[in-house]
Chain length 213, copies 2
DNA sequence: CGCCGCATTGAAATTAGTCAATACTCGTGG
DNA sequence: CCACGAGTATTGACTAATTTCAATGCGGCG
């Protein structure tokens, strides 16, 4: 059950008292799938990717983690995915033991974390629908809308990740991502000022293409 | 952060004091996506499916819910998916207000629920990998292994759901599911005594095909 | 200036999807 | 007890979307 919105920020801020700041350079690995899960994190600046690999090298990106996002809250004894820096990243690191202790003292904190994890679960369900049932165009349109919503900007989307990253996030190939973006551009639905700088002149057009439920 | 395993059952059993038993017939709907989320549930017997629809009728099944599974723990104000009975189902129903109250009194309960939701999130990440990156054979093999693990049986898997349900769970079509199962059968990896009764003589062979990380 | 990583584009190959016909199963009623 | 019928499953032939393989282009950095 998600916690009430009220004072959620304040409750979570308590975490920062047991946290330390940490820096990562582009392409650094924060932790590997299977490592003992000793800390969880919050992204302060930059972008992280959380990914999983199959034995033959196929990769899936669960999530792009951006400022404000918490990382590995849901971990059991070991991390369930590898976390890597897409760009230079600033993090807060929270030792899990300290978080546990804090939860004893602050029952509200537990509710907050529960709310966050519930939100992630809903996002994951959204993505399963995308991966299982949407066409390439719909996937890209949904992705751009998601990035637009998170970016906070009016009509501009920054894509710090590569086409390959996007492909592994959307269950496509890099080539299909590139072609589909090209198609959207030629249709005038998006503009591009460099591969990582997208302009969305008409969000409605994208929404039509995304065909969300 | 997941709760300790110890006495998890006992803690969750406390929920049953605020719950009532409820029956559903095959094809009944428990609730619709978008309904006000007044209760959450636990499956006692039978199988539910949790599904989402796109505007044009495409469907995705998030999860098959079987005895012991909790339903809609992660709900916000409204349900994020529709829940329907695949077979006749027996449920416990817990009013969310009562659950909230219980959480105040029993801090351990919150930790338990957090653990359950974290488990669901991990399962969802597993499924994203499957939906985004696995072939039809790998999807079916993974699915059968999952059902085998949940079923508890030695080498026998009961499939109470239709081929269409399986398809919408795995991001395939009913025809592909049928063909792929046929292929596994002809290769001797599985046996079939009726469409919903699968025999797995050699789990290792299936595991090889599933090619999990 | 030239290289390296990433992005784009093209053509061929492949997987899974679509459409359509046929078969099976189980429950009902004659 | 058997025949019928609805719903489900299987199978086949063809199509379409995406992947794969391969070449080319672009842009920033040393």
């Amino acid at each position: 059950m998600p916690a009430a919105r009220t004072s959620q920020r304040a409750t979570l801020a308590a975490l920062d008292r047991v946290g330390t700041v940490m820096l990562l350079r582009r392409h650094d690995t924060l932790f590997y799938e299977g490592d003992a899960a000793e800390c969880c994190y919050k992204v302060v600046a930059g972008t992280l990717r959380s990914c999983r690999l199959l034995a033959d090298g196929r990769r899936h990106i669960n999530e792009f983690l951006m400022p404000g996002d918490y990382v590995a809250l849901e971990a059991g004894d070991t991390y369930g995915f590898t976390a890597e820096a897409v760009s230079d990243v600033t993090l807060m690191r929270y030792p899990r033991a300290a978080v546990e202790r804090l939860m004893q003292q602050q029952p509200l904190l537990g509710k907050c974390l529960l709310g966050l994890v519930c939100g992630e679960l809903c996002a994951a369900q959204e993505r399963m629908l995308l991966l299982g049932r949407m066409s390439a165009v719909e996937r890209l349109a949904s992705f751009l809308l998601m990035m637009l919503a998170r970016g906070g900007g009016e009509d501009r989307v920054a894509l710090p990740m590569t086409r390959s990253d996007i492909a592994d996030f959307l269950g496509l190939t890099m080539e299909t991502v590139s072609r589909t973006l090209g198609q959207l551009k030629s249709e005038g639905v998006i503009g591009m000022r460099g591969a990582g700088d997208i302009i969305v002149p008409d969000r409605g057009a994208l929404e039509d293409l995304a065909e969300a439920a």
